[in-house]
């Protein structure tokens, strides 16, 4: 943690809501990206992300600064995401229609005004593929490939040995490649 973050966390622990607001600003996209990729649903992701931040606020007293604040926040996000009804299951099937419906084009365009048609298509392909994975594998893959965390950071966030993280990511990639080949989703 850098000095600014340490000070903000200390203030927030003492009950300073403004300090927590600044922490939120710095970490909102990190939590949002995991929440959205796990659920594939804007409303569900917003509920999940809100739950993560409110829990973080209530439990700041238990954060002792022995790990990075972001890792601690990822850990809360992981727990909430795996407990969520929507993100806690895999769809086990994938059709063109389902893939198209997985991303609400209107909401996506409203929330990402600079995004073009190509980006929407990328989102649909990604959402379609991720939805077929078991939740733990999906989460590990998101943290690695999209969030760019190291295997060690993922292991800490998921409270799992590094070897298990490697195995989950490797199997997730194999499954995605197989699904992509089978469905022709990636030419």
């Amino acid at each position: 943690m850098n000095d600014v973050e340490t000070r903000l966390v200390e203030k927030a622990r003492a009950g300073d809501a403004d300090a927590f607001g600044r922490i939120f600003e710095r970490s909102k996209n990190m939590v949002w990206n995991v929440a959205y990729r796990m659920t594939g649903d804007f409303d569900e992701a917003e509920d999940l992300a809100q739950d993560v931040f409110v829990t973080a606020w209530r439990k700041l007293a238990s954060f002792r600064g022995e790990s990075a604040f972001s890792t601690w926040l990822y850990r809360i996000t992981v727990n909430k995401a795996l407990n969520s009804k929507k993100s806690g299951r895999a769809l086990h099937r994938l059709s063109d229609e389902e893939t198209a419906n997985l991303v609400d084009a209107e909401t996506f365009a409203r929330q990402n005004p600079s995004a073009g048609v190509e980006q929407l298509e990328t989102e649909r392909i990604l959402a379609g593929l991720l939805a077929t994975l078991e939740p733990e594998r999906r989460l590990a893959l998101i943290l690695r490939e999209i969030e760019g965390l190291s295997y060690e950071q993922i292991a800490e966030a998921m409270n799992t040995p590094v070897g298990t993280v490697r195995s989950r990511i490797s199997r997730a990639r194999e499954e995605l490649e197989a699904t992509a080949k089978k469905t022709g989703i990636l030419p």
Binding site: A14, G15, A17, G21, F24, E25, K28, N29, W32, N33, E46, A49, Q50, F53, V54, T55, A56, W57, R58, K59, A61, S62, F63, R64, G65, E66, S67, T71, W72, L73, R75, I76, V78, N79, K80, L82, N83, Q111, N112, Q119, T122, E123, I125, L126, E134, P135, E136, E145, I146, N159, T160, P161, T164, R168, R171, R173, L176, E177, L186, P187
Partner: protein
């Protein structure tokens, strides 16, 4: 889009919606008073910061030793357990504290992984999610 690598490379980081901030901050303001640390938080913090891990272990062992000694004494013929009826101590604060600090860890460890244990990658997965997390609660840090 030719392969997975390209797909991941082209996946942009999304911006959180503005409504999220409003929702979170409204909730935080509503609970702001609850987060002000009370005397119990202060005492807990002091204890936590003053005790090292070996000291904690020693304290736990001493507590167990006392409990065993009392149990033996009470069950020894000729020694009668005190019959005075005392009021049970108020545990509500420590229960609240346990709820605050440990609930989610258990929820993550048992609730979710328990349901999918049969589909776990391998035995190390199972051990990691069901057994290690229990020890990790005591020995780890910053439980969420």
């Amino acid at each position: 889009m030719r392969n997975l690598e390209e797909l991941f490379k082209n996946t942009p980081r999304l911006e959180a919606p503005d409504t999220l901030q409003r929702r979170v901050m409204e909730e935080i303001r509503a609970h702001e008073k609850e987060r002000k640390p009370g005397w119990f938080d202060t005492v807990a913090d002091l204890l936590r910061s003053s005790l090292t891990h070996p000291a904690r272990a020693g304290f736990a062992l001493a507590t167990v030793a006392v409990a065993v000694a009392v149990s033996i004494a009470v069950n020894t013929p000729g020694i009668r357990a005190p019959r005075q009826i005392v009021q049970a101590p108020d545990m509500s604060q420590i229960n609240d504290y346990m709820d605050e600090t440990l609930d989610d860890t258990y929820a993550g460890a048992w609730g979710v992984n328990g349901a999918s244990s049969m589909e776990s990658d391998d035995i190390s997965d199972f051990v990691a999610t069901h057994v290690e997390s229990v020890f990790w609660i005591d020995g780890g840090s910053d439980n969420a």
